[in-house]
Amino acid sequence: MTTATADRRATKPARKRSPLASLGGQNLSLIGALVLVLGLFGVLNDNYLSVSNMQVIAEAATITGLLAVVQTAVIICGGLDISVGSQAGVASVVSAMAFTTAGSNALAGIAAAVGVGLLVGILNGVIIVYGRVNPTIATLAGLAAYKGLAQLISDGRAQGYVLNNDIFVFLGRGKIAGLPVMVWILIVVALAVHLLLKYTDIGRNVYAIGGNDTAARLAGININKYLVAVYALIGVVAAVAGILLTARTGSGQPTSGSEGLELKAITAAALGGAALKGGKGGIGGTLLAVALLGCLENGLTVQGINAFWQNVAQGALLVVAVVIQQRRNGERRIGLPA
């Protein structure tokens, strides 16, 4: 008894989505803002849009970018990691010290840093999942504890000197096809995480966990394993960030260069569309946000705006960007926005 009305009710086949729409409203607003910033500072300053300045911006944004990418992943599954900056500090110190101890062996330094990063990440995950500590509190604690750890290991001073080593120099200053090596690393990591999140079942499960953890559990997803794995990933990527920090500054830095990165990473992820409640967000948006913030900061500096005004301008622009974005969504103005 199939019915005459069946076709009325049946769904239309998935419509073709215009390339623009598939970018997402969030991303469109960010691209708009980016074009605006580039245009504005490009007009104000001849050198702003030069290749060399774009390289400078990209390089400066790399470390934040790496942390923002993994921050996005953990936010999507409903968590948060406030300790990313401190983790990078630990890795920076460890990489330089292991390098020195191993008789200027760069690979030893890198391996040690990544290993420690992995351990720290797993520790975070285990504390959260099995210790039942809220992610915000656990990683707030990590923020202090890992910073202290980095300081203890290094006695609070910059450690070692790596710029006599080819590998570190290559990481810090080398270029491939005109693009700094650091930027390539960001591209590779971001692409890998993007593919993981968007095109594999692992990524889909991550979204499911963040969207509704009860539903995810009942769908047979081993939530605990996923969460620990995501924090472990953060640990490893934060270690990479720490190694790049060492390569850039020439020595292992316990706090300098890594302090405060957590807020930048969270800002970028949130501006890029990741909802702090979990289940929403994407690497594309986050990278756009990183680019926007990087171009803005560079532009303000290039224009010689004083540091105080820069603070005000950054805050104000962040708000304006989101307001415009939300305006376009036409969301109802009631209660707390997501």
């Binding site: 009305t5 009325r8 998935a14 079942d201 979204y207 509704n212 009860t214 009942l218």
Partner: protein, 542 residues
């Protein structure tokens, strides 16, 4: 008799039967989706107007417009014959319009009393909360409305069962000066006892001159309660019938544009191969459960609310730790306490609370449908997009989910269509044992038949089915065997021939233990004054 739900201020006296509220040419669009396409309808005082229609026909949307929660795209509202714009639920409330929404909205960390009177808490001078009055009011209201055995005022919002949450919403609607009360599928999670209480209440409201709007997919209820039946179809008014003279078939024809044949088309296809074998299983909520389900067999779990059926289902699906006993699936012992293991072994559970337990509201229909079959759709862990779309489209069509496309976000679907997405997910998985917990909750009559047909088809394919349902006709129509639970235990088993409503109810209330007696009593529950925060309130040791 005093007015239900409130003591003061009293409800207005019955007015001459004229429309308290009416709508004219209401159009509502959500982006490209048109939910209502120019509906005009009036709701007279002292009458129960039933609102019927398929899933996604626009019933909830219409109610949300009446209560100021949504603004119409076109058209307007008339309150007492005057054009009125209701900008917010608060304004609608002040006008005397109330709704019991389809999905109860509960505040988790506060007491039932505060949940009910939120927004109009009794207070003393200086905005001090009057806790004594609050306690008195909730106790009195629960008693007067006959819900005092079902719900204890000291419970926290987060502790409530679906039925209790529904009751909280009902109580909310009855506080203050109500003139129009809309019920959006209030019985979908209530059992018969509460349904009876509710009907008495609604009849009472009608007698007091309140305009009642009643949305339900249960035909029986409609003819029991309604004075008029308004049928929506595709966002337009298909017709208004006089309930006294109309027949079920008329309503159905208006709803779906055709006649529907018999509801249940069961043939006996049960085999002897035991798929599920449960021996002496005890969990936090159920004790000594012995249960078998054979391939091709449909076993219904019946019982009153809180009998432990859902908890048993969750235990089988690996979500509740099993303290003792064994579960065997297809002859192989099941590793308990792990949903992943249960699914891998071939168990599928479509849980009862779709929003809390099943749906990813911000993801698409496609994502939601394929969540448990991704591992079959991947190559090198990459999900094959085409195959995925195919699967999602197939089950979306098969269940007739009303949506513009499978890339639509699930939160934008109507309640019944969301339920279909949950079912689609588990049908796509093709499990050996499919557990359906209240599968037709909130589903329209056409789709119900569709689901019954699917259950029959699955049985024919040799799937073992365990169906939990609080609708006795459904239990009787579907089941080869009915297993009745009460208070966490199985109290009896009836085969198809033995099963009647009386027999089931008898077993469900076997030792004359009302299901409510084991619910926490007021004295042993958290004091409502202390629970919302970790602080001590002076004198809170009662």
């Amino acid at each position: 008799m005093t007015s239900p739900g409130t003591e003061s201020p009293a409800l207005p006296p019955p007015t001459a039967a004229g429309p308290v509220i009416a709508i004219e040419g209401i159009v509502k669009r959500f982006g490209a989706v048109q939910a209502l396409g120019g509906v005009s309808l009036e709701f007279p005082a002292g009458q129960v107007t039933a609102l019927m229609g398929e899933n996604g026909a626009g019933k909830s949307t219409l109610l949300k417009i009446l209560t100021g929660d949504h603004q119409p795209t076109e058209g307007h509202l008339l309150v007492d014959g005057r054009r009125t714009a209701l900008a917010s639920p608060a304004e609608a409330r002040a006008t005397g319009i109330r709704i019991i929404p389809q999905e109860p909205e509960i505040i988790p960390h506060v007491s039932v009393a505060e949940n009910v009177y939120a927004g109009s808490l009794p207070r003393k001078a200086g905005r001090r909360l009057d806790r004594a009055e609050l306690d008195r009011r909730i106790t009195a209201d629960l008693q007067r409305l006959g819900f005092d055995k079902v719900i204890s005022p000291g419970l926290l919002g987060s502790d409530l069962t679906p039925a209790q949450r529904q009751i909280v919403e009902i109580l909310r609607a009855l506080t203050g000066n109500a003139r129009v009360i809309a019920f959006d599928e209030p019985t979908s999670s209530l059992s018969d006892t509460e349904v009876d209480a509710l009907f008495a209440l609604i009849n009472n409201l009608r007698d007091q001159g309140i305009a009642v709007i009643y949305v339900s997919h249960r035909m029986k209820e409609i003819f029991q309660l309604a004075d008029r039946i308004a049928v929506l179809r595709d966002g337009t008014l298909a017709g208004v019938l006089d309930a006294a003279s109309a027949h079920e078939a008329d309503v159905v024809r208006l709803m779906v544009g055709r006649d529907l044949s018999t509801l249940f088309t069961r043939q006996d296809v049960a085999t002897d191969r035991v798929v599920l074998d449960v021996r002496g299983v005890t969990t936090d909520a159920v004790r000594d459960i012995d249960l078998t389900v054979r391939a091709g067999e449909v076993v219904a779990l019946a019982g009153l609310i809180g009998a432990g059926r859902s908890e048993l289902a969750l235990a089988l699906a690996g979500d509740q730790p099993v303290h003792s006993g064994t579960i065997t699936l297809d002859g192989r012992p099941l590793r308990t306490g792990r949903p992943g293991a249960a699914i891998a072994a071939g168990i599928g559970l479509a849980p009862e609370e779709r929003k809390a337990q099943a749906l990813l509201l911000h993801r698409t229909i496609r994502d939601n449908t394929t969540l448990v079959v991704l591992e079959r759709l991947r190559r090198l862990r990459f999900v094959r997009r085409g195959a995925e779309r195919e699967v999602a489209q197939e089950y979306t069509d098969r269940l007739r989910v009303r949506t513009p496309s499978i890339e639509h976000e699930v939160r934008k679907l109507s309640g019944g269509n969301q339920q279909k997405v949950v079912l689609a997910r588990w049908l796509a998985r093709k499990p050996k044992l499919l557990i359906l917990d209240e599968p037709t909750r909130g589903i329209d009559i056409g789709a119900k038949i569709e689901i019954y047909q699917i259950i029959a088809d699955l049985a024919k394919e040799g799937v073992a089915l365990l169906v939990i349902s609080s609708e006795l006709p459904e239990v009787l129509g579907l089941a080869d065997r009915v297993v009745v639970m009460q208070n966490g235990r199985i109290t009896g088993e009836l085969d198809r021939a033995e099963a009647t409503e009386e027999a089931i109810l008898h077993l469900a209330m076997a030792d004359d233990l009302s299901p409510t007696t084991r619910r926490p009593t007021p004295g042993s529950t958290p004091d409502p004054t202390t629970d919302t925060t970790a602080d001590t309130a002076p004198g809170a040791s009662s």
